[in-house]
């Protein structure tokens, strides 16, 4: 175990996989010489050279398309889109191609590729640079979607993503890059897809979250325990596809109460789907309706005083938990 940041854990995962497998290649805007906009690819060009670590033009749809072709040709590309917002320029290659090629060609092709993208709001980057688009990816069969909350998961999930024979959308939260945690040193350490983590066991209420929202949920849970004696179980989804519904459904069945937290917009967001799964599976055991805490349905305003109202915060999660605790049946 070593303590390191989420950023360094991702960097280490890339490095280890590049060392292990010569078919792994990395490209994206400014990932090589500039070492990445968020420095996740620091040192890779120096270690692995220009043929494997490549800068690209600002052509997002083609960044993904070239990775698809290279994967069809037997490589394992790890493409970076500088942020998830620019994935909107690549939806054609992601949704129309990456997610469908295997299936529409009757299983004759496999696409072992990863598309990494930092995302999420909270840094006053305004409407075009603050989006949380995880629901778009989860709402597209044919691709895997991972979104780590901790440095250990960042490393373990990215390694799994690179080794996975399926195309993977790998989301990273910009505000987690500097977060620190213990990370296993073993180069064979991986974190399996489709297995949610229980960040904290509890008995009164289940909080289902992912990525930065899981981190905030944990903070809310700790405060609630201390301040109000409410015992929250915090489930971190880790991957949105495959989705480990069993874990959070079992937890909600046990606690009888649940709060679903998502950073993305509320309307038609993934949180409704999660809430419904709990509702459907725990209909008889739920003691209050599932509560959703979600991003506001607005284009993100720049001003920090407005922005903070638009993204779930520790306090808004705590309010929802208190709410679901007092809702009587």
């Amino acid at each position: 175990m070593s303590e390191m940041t989420y950023r360094d854990a991702l960097n280490l995962a890339l490095r280890e996989e590049l060392r292990r497998d010569p078919s792994v290649v990395v490209w994206g805007e400014d990932v090589a010489l500039y070492e990445g906009s968020f420095k996740v690819t620091r040192g890779l060009l120096a270690e692995f050279g220009e043929e494997r670590i490549r800068d690209t033009p600002i052509s997002e749809n083609t960044i993904v398309g070239v990775a698809i072709g290279a994967a069809m040709g037997g490589l394992r590309p790890v493409a970076e889109l500088m942020t998830v917002n620019f994935a909107l320029l690549a939806m054609d290659q992601i949704v129309n191609h990456m997610a469908k090629i295997r299936s529409m060609f009757g299983g004759q092709a496999s696409l072992p590729l990863v598309v990494r993208m930092p995302g999420g709001g909270g840094s006053q980057l305004a409407a075009q640079h603050s989006q949380s688009l995880e629901s778009y990816f989860m709402h597209c069969p044919g691709i895997r979607v991972a979104y780590p909350a901790t440095p250990a998961d960042a490393k373990g999930l990215l390694k799994t993503a690179i080794r996975d024979p399926n195309p993977v959308i790998f989301l990273e939260h910009e505000l987690l890059y500097n977060s620190k945690g213990e990370v296993p040193d073993d180069p064979e350490f991986t974190v399996p897809f489709g297995r949610a983590g229980i960040l904290r066991a509890g008995t009164d209420v289940t909080i289902v979250a992912y990525a930065r929202m899981a981190v905030l949920a944990l903070q809310a849970a700790e405060a609630l325990e201390k301040e109000a004696g409410i015992s929250c179980e915090v489930v971190d989804l880790r991957t949105l596809n495959p989705l480990d519904a069993e874990t959070f459904v079992a937890s909600a069945r046990k606690t009888g109460r649940a709060v679903v937290v998502e950073e993305c917009w509320r309307s038609a967001g993934l949180g409704g789907d999660l809430a419904h799964r709990i509702h459907e599976a725990c209909f008889d055991s739920l003691r209050a309706p599932v509560r959703r805490v979600a991003g506001l349905d607005v284009p993100m305003p720049y001003s920090r005083e407005l922005e903070k109202l638009c993204i779930p915060q520790v306090e808004s999660i705590a309010v929802a938990v208190r709410d679901v605790m007092t809702a009587s049946v």
Binding site: A70, G106, G107
Partner: protein, 325 residues
């Protein structure tokens, strides 16, 4: 202008080009019938008229070169070696289809034949072709990627991004634009500021040329030259083949936007009878031999239809298969 055929290829290969064009035409015309009968559903885009491009270009490539195309790709799969019955069965949506009935007319694919797919999003295959070419170069394979697309695709962002990328990364891609002068009902000069398609490569420093897409030998020669250039230099090359589709865009299109006169001019340039005349004139084949070829193709296609008809539907649980590995 016409070179003597024998100067280009041995007799056997010359005759084979004829056979491939005839097979393509027969296959397409049979598809039209099967569509009318309701055996083929969905969108159906036929290639009749453009056969010289697929046949000539494919003959000029190596067997392990990758080929990608759009949704008008039956002939491209056939001349690459796909079995007519497995293509027809795919069009019927049957379990024995080359993609198990999951792709249909627009999405033929054969890993075995390095036929890397028909794509139905205009321009979608271009970046993928670049990626395949990168994988070949990365592994130092002596393989190039040929990517077919239509005149309508040249105004998509992906066209621009892919051409720039291919030249910048020095990728062995041969871009082949089949300019049949229409994207559905829109004529090239109404969609492209510079309607001379191959000249659009000037912005990417990619060499390009145009070729008569109704002349199978001309296509063969141009693609042969271009493919060698790509293979030697490791850089992209661009060919515009001028051609024409004799039918509407798809079965739903009566093609009223084209004049009868225009259609007649192109009909007179039908690549199949014109090539037959040259084979006869140069004594490469006899009338009887050509008739035998036609009969063989007709039989092959009839057999393909019977095979498709007799094949089972995919089992219901196939719905969950082939999505994830």
């Amino acid at each position: 202008m016409e070179a003597r055929l024998r100067a280009v290829l041995p007799d056997h290969d010359l005759v084979r080009l004829y056979e491939q064009m005839v097979l393509s035409r027969e296959f397409e015309e049979s598809c039209a019938e099967q569509y009318a009968k309701g055996h083929i559903t969905g969108f159906l885009h036929l290639y009749s008229g453009q056969e010289a491009v697929a046949a000539g270009a494919t003959a000029a490539l190596h067997k392990d070169d990758y080929i990608l195309s759009a949704y008008r790709e039956h002939a491209q799969a056939l001349v690459r070696g796909a079995e007519p019955k497995r293509v027809m069965s795919e069009l019927f949506g049957k379990a024995t289809g080359m993609c198990k009935g999951k792709g249909g007319s627009m999405h033929l694919f054969s890993a075995e034949l390095n036929f890397m797919g028909g794509y139905a999003i205009v321009g979608g295959q271009l970046p993928i072709a670049c990626g395949l070419a990168f994988s070949s170069r990365y592994r130092q394979e002596d393989r190039i990627t040929a990517c077919f697309f239509g005149d309508g695709a040249v105004n998509q962002g992906t066209f621009h991004e892919s051409l720039n990328w291919a030249r910048l990364w020095e990728l062995p891609v041969l871009f082949i634009c089949e300019n049949n002068f229409y994207g559905i009902g829109t004529e090239v000069h109404r969609s492209s500021a510079l309607p001379t398609v191959h000249k659009r490569t000037c912005g990417y420093d990619i060499p390009s040329e145009k070729v008569d897409g109704m002349d199978v030998l001309a296509v063969f020669k141009a693609v042969k030259y271009a493919a060698e250039k790509v293979r030697e230099s490791g850089r992209p090359y661009f060919i515009e083949a001028l051609t024409y589709r004799f039918r509407g865009h798809s079965m739903a299109d009566p093609a009223k936007y084209r004049s009868a006169a225009e259609h007649e001019v192109w009909k007179a340039r039908d690549p199949i009878p014109n090539y037959a005349r040259r084979l006869l004139a140069e004594g490469i084949a006899t009338e009887a031999q050509l008739a035998a070829i036609r009969d063989r193709c007709v039989a092959l296609v009839a057999e393909a239809v019977s095979f498709a008809e007799a094949s089972p539907w995919p089992a219901a649980d196939e719905v969950w298969e082939d999505i994830y590995v």
